[in-house]
Amino acid sequence: MEAAQSLQFGSYITWGVATVTFVHGYCTGYADGQRSMAEIISEESEGEAMTLRISRLKTKELNLPLDILVEPDADGFIAKTPDLPLYGYGDERDEAISNLQSEIETLYEDLMADDNFSEEWLQIKAFLRGRVVN
């Protein structure tokens, strides 16, 4: 509950190298001068789980946002997206989100390297190709 309360109007959360501001449920922060990264879709105070939407990865943009779920994992946090078999872990919520963003980007690079994948991964490749802007 404490974490959820910390994301109210005008509050701040450190996000990797960026500090982002949550205003009326929207994240308007900037990373290295880039545009906003996420908005809060919903907050579940019980267990401090939170659903967010990211609009960019570490160095790449997304042309459509991805939903991510961040929830406590013992004394840390785990971030996942229902669209991809990936996770990001961090001692803090923002670190988990940042690590998931890195994971998505790394997966994208892996998938674009060749076509030597099972059918499921080729479908994921097509999905990411449609989402990630180079």
């Binding site: 013992a74 990936l86 996770y87 890195s102 790394t106 997966l107 099972s118 499921e120 991964w121």
Partner: protein
Amino acid sequence: MKNSQFNSHDVKTCCENKLDIQFKDGGELNGWYLLEGKKVRRVTVSKGRKELKPKTYKSMASQLGLSVEQFDNLLDCSLGGQDYQSLISAALSPGSAETH
């Protein structure tokens, strides 16, 4: 769930030795499991010897296409590389409902 018995280095070593997964060093360690020459499973492991938290442990199992119990068995040696190959082959065979 035996997550408290293993750390991230144990998972990495087990994946390398039993499943012939080669990890690529990035922010985290990522590696692909190859079945009949094709990349069919991808697992992410933290660098170092980090404690494995329950949901992270479950996520690693899921990435490998295993239940938590099967993942426990993989790590504590009762599930071998050939057993794993059989499980994944069955999961990927036509008619199987399982996906990645």
